[in-house]
């Protein structure tokens, strides 16, 4: 990687672009280029379109938009939501750096959800046509791409489990534990983190109302499970939190 760094600098590549290469991206162990050698990573870099900034609250793509690109999140957080025929939103996921947005659009070439940045973020545009050509040529990339799609299927199944037969307390505990482990996987503290989404968004995602979320936060606080200050969360008893996730038995 050092070698590559040098060669890029020597050819006068602007620093902007340099920083944006997969090889130097802190997410390359989680993201699409995971496990690729340097040559393959270069080829992936070459098909990636723009590295785009998405400001807080702005929309990356919208339901019904034609599908052109997948988006790899370099930095920041997103929410993805579906909309009922009633116009009611249902958030289907919160995505963070290293995760891929837009995979649900492959089936019909139209986006099935809307993706909105929860904070100022950056994404890599991955033109899907080009990616598919590359996939045929790079078994490692093919394998990992399939893993990422499969992982999304698995994640959604877990949410179905959560929504289908967990109580409010369990759901919220599971939500916190999930965030915690994802931050840990990214090298951040699993105990202290900022919620990037509002109480309302959490409630929407978990199939609960904003009031329920607020009450659950108060309850967990009172029980010494966590400390909250606005969106700053500190998990004080991850073990018990995980236990609550498992069953209703331990939560009164």
């Amino acid at each position: 990687m050092i070698r590559e760094f040098d060669s890029l600098v020597s050819t006068g590549t602007p620093l902007e672009v340099l920083k944006a290469k997969c090889a130097t991206c802190s997410m390359h162990q989680l993201c699409l280029p995971m496990g690729l050698d340097n040559d393959d990573m270069d080829r992936l870099d070459q098909i990636i379109g723009r590295r785009r900034k998405v400001t807080r609250g702005s929309t990356l793509f919208r339901i019904g938009d034609p599908f052109q690109n997948l988006y790899a999140i370099r930095l920041g957080h997103f929410k993805a939501y579906q909309v009922n025929r009633d116009g009611v939103e249902q958030i289907t996921g919160f995505q963070m750096a290293g995760e891929l947005l837009g995979m649900d659009a492959i089936s019909t070439d139209l986006h099935h959800c809307t993706a909105v940045a929860l904070e100022d973020s950056e994404v890599c545009e991955v033109p899907f046509g080009s990616l598919q050509q590359l996939l045929a040529d790079m078994p490692a990339l093919l394998r990992h791409f399939h893993r990422m799609m499969s992982q999304e299927i698995t994640r959604e199944q877990s949410v179905m489990l959560l929504l289908g037969n967990m109580q409010a307390t369990q759901r919220f505990a599971a939500f916190l534990v999930n965030l915690s482990s994802r931050y840990e996987a990214r090298g951040y503290s699993p105990h202290t983190f900022q919620l990037r989404m509002s109480r309302e968004e959490i409630g929407n995602y978990l199939g609960l109302t904003i009031e329920s979320i607020s009450r659950l936060l108060s309850k967990f606080k009172k029980e010494g499970l966590l400390r909250v200050s606005n969106r700053e969360i500190e998990l004080l008893d991850p073990v018990r939190l995980k236990a609550i996730t498992a069953g209703t038995h331990s939560c009164n």
Copy 2:
């Protein structure tokens, strides 16, 4: 297709195997070989392992099983469920002929759900290693495989919407409408069909109790929306059923 049929017969291929070829399978317009030309379909046929019968109630694969094969359903119905740490089941989907089972296992090489036949069924074993090699070589197959995975993501998102912010009545209506359209896509009557799953399984899938399902059936029956006799269902007013799916407003 006729030509192929002839050539197979002339080479003395047993009828058993003949019937099992993708080209002669009634599901090839929905299943993996969708859109493939005859040559490509042959290549796909060649990697397919066994065409296996799965008797009612028996398990195709189980959570934690090592992942070897995807399974294309030729005939019959399956349920796929996850299990909580409590041992509580959550059915994540009901699959029918033409659909693919096991895609959630790609991410970790372990199955994340258990698949059980709801009636005597038949599946084609698709060894995933071989499939991946083929994918690199057959753009059309690659494309369709991605569509199928993406479709599964989309389907699960719809279930999240259903579980996250629909009421019991809406959920059950949505369930019936969904079954109806899938039978229609397979050339069966969209109005009259047999439920292959018990009331309990429906309830589990929809995040409701068996009693609620029973009550909803009675309610719909009383409102002239459908006729029920055991597992035989006749939808009498699909339009109103769809309307109920959309919003709570029209159902008292």
